[in-house]
């Protein structure tokens, strides 16, 4: 697999959970999530994809939304975690920590001097 395809596949697997993690402590609106993502290298290549992603997670019951007034401009849709969303984020974190440790172990201890 070419390295660019690999990065895309890896991103696809985790992006949803990264968004859920960013909503863990506080509800946020889409633009806010995009700003947070900008500081995370390589996590979000097309910024607009956050919106279909959020809409899909809402359809799946992982997040729900509420409109909030803004100081100026029109009200914004804020996304917050549901119970199922909280659960999904905890499950992912547990799984991810184990998985990362396994991969790290293979590369450091079993991969020879190049590792």
């Amino acid at each position: 697999m070419p390295i660019e395809g690999l990065a895309t596949q890896l991103r696809k697997g985790v992006i949803e959970y990264c968004v859920l993690a960013m909503l863990r402590n506080t509800p946020r609106y889409g633009g806010e999530l995009i700003q947070l993502m900008r500081s995370q290298d390589g996590l979000l290549t097309s910024e607009g994809t956050i919106y279909p992603l959020l809409s899909r997670m809402r359809a799946d019951g992982l997040v729900d939304t509420e409109w909030r007034e803004t100081p100026r401009g029109s009200p914004r849709r804020y996304y917050r975690l549901t119970k199922a969303g909280q659960q999904a984020v905890s499950d992912f974190q547990r799984e991810w920590v184990r998985f990362r440790a396994t991969v790290d172990h293979v590369f450091v201890h079993e991969g020879g001097p190049q590792g």
Binding site: K12, G13, E16, G30, G31, I34, T45, S46, E47, G48, T49, Y51, P52, L53, L54, S55, R56, R58, A59, D60, G73, S74, R76, R77
Partner: protein, 208 residues
């Protein structure tokens, strides 16, 4: 670039996105378009010099409409896809209602639906033998049977005594007639209940 040209650029982008989202359910499509256009409006407000290059960069950062649409469709979770394909639709509801009531129509729908496996379909087809349609015919069959074979008549024998003689079921002793009646009632009850039980079974299989 005039404000008019800028608006054109944006509405062209949203138009392409709308096209790409054609196979996404209406409510979700509206939600995505709504959010994206609000995002563009807010970001445009933040641009220092409202040049065409800035606006084009903004739209480029958002991404290709085809890519956004792919993100709206992509489930990336097989278990969810499997759930979707077994979703309860009009065919399944009709099949459940019609299988006991209008047997052939219900069974055809039952076999058309991907929501049940072969075993469920066989049970749905065979357990209520003919559904309620069969029950409509069965009393008629019984009546025909009794009508033909049962008759009683009195005759006077040589000694002047009236002798009643019967044929068919009525020729049997009373306790045996009662037994047959109880049996018939039981069969009718079973035939009435079985289609309902089958429908309940199929409905439960649907939820799995």
């Amino acid at each position: 670039m005039t404000a008019y040209q800028a608006d054109q650029l944006v509405s062209e982008y949203l138009g392409r996105l709308d096209e790409q989202l054609a196979d996404v359910p209406r409510t979700r499509r509206d939600e995505i378009l709504d959010e994206i256009s609000q995002h563009i409006a807010e970001e445009r407000g933040l641009l220092h010099n409202k040049s065409e290059a800035d606006l084009r960069n903004l739209l480029d950062r958002l991404g290709d409409p085809a890519e956004l649409a792919a993100a709206a469709r992509d489930d990336g979770d097989e278990s969810h896809e499997a759930k979707e394909s077994r979703r309860i639709g009009a065919i399944e509801v009709l099949a459940l209602v019609l299988t006991p009531l209008v047997w052939p129509a219900g069974v055809i729908l039952l076999w058309l639906s991907p929501a049940w496996n072969l075993r469920d379909k066989l049970i749905g087809t065979l357990v209520p033998p003919g559904g309620y349609l069969f029950i409509l015919f069965s009393p008629a069959l019984l009546l025909m049977g009794t009508g033909v074979t049962n008759s009683c008549g009195g005759t006077v024998d040589s000694g002047g005594n009236v002798v009643n003689s019967c044929t068919g079921v009525l020729a049997l002793p009373v306790w045996q007639q009662d037994l047959i009646n109880v049996g018939l009632v039981a069969i009718v009850v079973v035939l009435l209940v079985l289609p309902v039980l089958t429908a309940i079974y199929l409905a439960r299989r649907l939820r799995k």
